[in-house]
């Protein structure tokens, strides 16, 4: 509770930092914030042109030219949000070593800034994607709002994991390196690029234990097929997220003092 109060009193700093980080990316460029739009737009266009037009890739069971590129975009964008949050939080204490050592402020501001920044970037990209869905006539309708709770669970998961890995990474730098490798494997072990149906039955059973699978499948179901997510399938990942958050907070509280000595 005290932590939240401290965070609230530093909201100016958090908001300012988010704004500053966003601005600093495009500070000295001519096109400025336009680049935030150009980059994801290119991605959407490339996926659409290559997969829908050139390769004529079809998604089993869905009859639409854009189905596969939409499937790909949903997975890649949400996976991108996940890796950005986790990846940035794992380095957040190391990157801000100077600040942590010299200035006294609530340390939890840093992960909050990371989450807010990743969220902001995602919001911009995803809005563009939504416009693309509407324009191409693939907007799934009311079911779209179901994305919000799923995204919240994912953020909780990413924050818990990020803080845990971030604290460990201060003491054992191997953790950061190792986690990079894990993320690579994780991406291909999650049905982002391929539909889960192409996998043999035995592998599919194993993939159910991948917490990201439930989340990504929920997004794909909502956007591509217009289906409400199977809430029961999201329970395990929610519980896991809460446990990770508790673990992360515990590690953080226990080692926050020692962390500054180690930086």
């Amino acid at each position: 509770m005290q932590m939240i109060q401290a965070l609230w009193s530093y909201r100016g700093f958090v908001l300012g930092s988010v704004r500053r980080e966003f601005e600093s990316k495009y500070r000295n460029s001519l096109l400025g914030a336009l680049w935030t739009i150009i980059n994801p737009l290119t991605m959407i266009v490339v996926y659409t042109v290559i997969f829908a037009k050139l390769m004529q890739a079809k998604l089993p069971g869905v009859d639409s030219t854009f189905a596969y590129s939409i499937y790909l975009c949903v997975g890649v964008l949400t996976w991108g949000l996940f890796t950005e949050t986790v990846g940035r939080s794992q380095n957040v204490f190391l990157e801000n070593a100077n600040l942590l050592k010299k200035i006294s402020f609530p340390r939890l501001c840093l992960p909050v800034i990371v989450v807010a920044n990743a969220g902001l970037n995602f919001l911009i990209i995803f809005s563009l994607f939504t416009i693309f869905l509407i324009v191409s006539g693939n907007f799934p309708g009311l079911v779209f709002v179901a994305l919000i709770p799923v995204l919240m669970i994912q953020t909780l998961f990413a924050v818990g994991l990020g803080i845990t890995v971030g604290v460990l990474n201060v003491f054992f730098r191997d953790v950061g390196q190792l986690f990079g490798v894990i993320l690579q494997f994780w991406f291909w072990l999650t049905p982002v690029v391929y539909p889960v149906t192409i996998l043999p039955e035995s592998v599919r059973a194993a993939i159910r234990y991948n917490p990201m699978n439930a989340l990504i499948s929920a997004y794909q179901g909502i956007v591509v097929r217009g289906l409400w997510p199977d809430w029961m399938s999201l329970w395990p990942v929610t519980v896991l997220s809460i446990l990770l958050c508790l673990l992360g907070m515990r590690l953080f509280r226990k080692h926050a003092g020692e962390m500054v000595d180690e930086l």
């Binding site: 300012g16 500053r20 100077n98 942590l100 010299k102 200035i103 003092g257 500054v260 000595d261």
Partner: protein, 406 residues
């Protein structure tokens, strides 16, 4: 508001024999420890009352910065506690977190937010910050085009925009030009007068004695001494001179002042006296009177080189005049053990009214840092009285020849 209470404070860093042993310790189910503790501060006990100004001195590595970091809260103590009441502003690292691509104004807002101010508060303080920093048009230029002095002016202005209950100052203030140093010290002094508690770390004798009511000497992680600033600074100087076998002794003189003697002891001062032109010992001297400082020295071992230095200090311990035989081009070489010498320095006592002390030192080269045989503070105390000169103020007697044209 504004008190600092430090109780039994200690800080140790964990040292692991190898990278793996930390992992072993973390994973150990029995809670077996694998580290050794390296203590950098131990048993620090002191209290600073609201409105007091305290200086902290000590050689590099004595633990001053660690102590300040624990008081500001960036570092957690290993043992003991720090209790601070009121708002703390720390001038430890000026310009921390300035982003080079943003303008001075934007960075000032950011730095203010990091200090916990709200945006409205900063907006209200902004004109004042701009005025104090005196960087003019540059306020709206990116910080990367600033000189380091300008950055530091802006950072100082932001950090001190509000009068804090406690102000902690590290040597940060040694940057910037003389003008801004004066200006910033004036602000710090003004805060002190208005009731801000000051905690100042410095190597500069002048600033410690000029501002502080009390000084604390840190030596190798423990409090070496605390007390009146001039006594602590003398002890600190003696410590600086301390080498291998030398010792530092302090004893209280009849008038209650601490007298400090230190050195390796190869040579000693047998006698020191201030004499008038008839050879009589003096304790009270008239302004401008011709006097002679006589110092008797004895070599206790064979000495390759010997220099005698003295400094006259005012009652605050500020040096008024000092020199040594190296600068006077009369350095002695190859002295045999047992040799005795008598030095005579003749000068007019062109000093203002007040009490003065003389410190003497026997050493090699041009200072007492490399080899210090004996250093004696408050070796002699005398008073200057004004018997026949007109009224004047100050520590020096500089009579002018006046003309006035009309």
């Amino acid at each position: 508001m504004g008190s600092i209470t430090v109780k039994q404070l200690g800080k140790a860093y964990k040292q692991y024999p190898s990278r793996w042993s930390r992992l072993a310790e973390w994973l150990s189910p029995t809670g077996k420890t694998h580290h050794t503790l390296k203590w950098v501060l131990q048993d620090i006990d002191f209290e600073v009352k609201a409105g007091e100004a305290v200086g902290i001195v000590g050689i590099n590595g004595a633990g001053k910065s660690t102590l300040l970091k624990m008081i500001t809260g960036t570092t957690q103590p290993t043992t003991g506690s720090v209790q601070v009441t009121g708002r703390v502003a720390a001038l430890l690292e000026l310009g921390m977190g300035f982003h080079p691509d943003f303008t001075g104004r934007q960075n000032a807002v950011m730095a203010g937010q990091l200090l916990g101010y709200s945006v409205e508060e900063i907006a209200r303080l902004m004109p004042e910050i701009e005025a104090f920093a005196e960087i003019g048009e540059y306020i709206d230029q990116p910080v990367r085009v600033y000189s380091s002095g300008m950055q530091m002016r802006l950072a100082f202005s932001v950090a001190t925009a509000h009068r804090p209950d406690i102000l902690i100052v590290d040597e940060a203030l040694s940057v910037g030009d003389a003008y801004f140093q004066h200006k910033s010290f004036n602000r710090i002094r003004a805060f002190g007068k208005e009731g801000t508690t000051l905690l100042i770390v410095s190597h500069d004798k002048g600033s410690i004695q000029g501002i502080c009511d009390r000084a604390i000497l840190l030596d190798a992680g423990v409090i070496g001494m605390q007390g009146a600033p001039d006594a602590v600074m003398d002890y600190y100087n003696a410590l600086l001179a301390e080498r291998e076998n030398s010792t530092v002794r302090q004893h209280v003189t009849d008038d209650g002042k601490l007298k400090i003697t230190s050195g390796t002891g190869e040579a000693t001062i047998d006698d020191i006296a201030l004499l008038d032109d008839k050879g009589e010992r003096l304790e009270v001297v008239n302004v401008g009177q011709a006097v002679e400082l006589r110092v008797g020295v004895r070599a206790l071992e064979d000495l390759p080189e010997l220099v005698l230095g003295y400094v006259i200090k005012d009652r605050l311990g500020q040096p008024v005049y000092g020199t040594n035989t190296h600068h006077l081009n009369d350095k002695l070489f190859e002295l045999k053990s047992g040799a005795t010498l008598t030095y005579r320095f003749k000068f007019p006592a062109n000093l203002g009214v007040g009490t003065y002390s003389i410190s003497v030192a026997l050493h090699t080269a041009d200072n007492h840092i490399s080899k210090n045989y004996e250093w004696r503070d408050l070796a002699l105390v005398f008073s200057i009285v004004n018997i026949d000169k007109g009224n004047f103020v100050g520590v020096a007697w500089i009579p002018p020849v006046m003309e006035c044209e009309r």
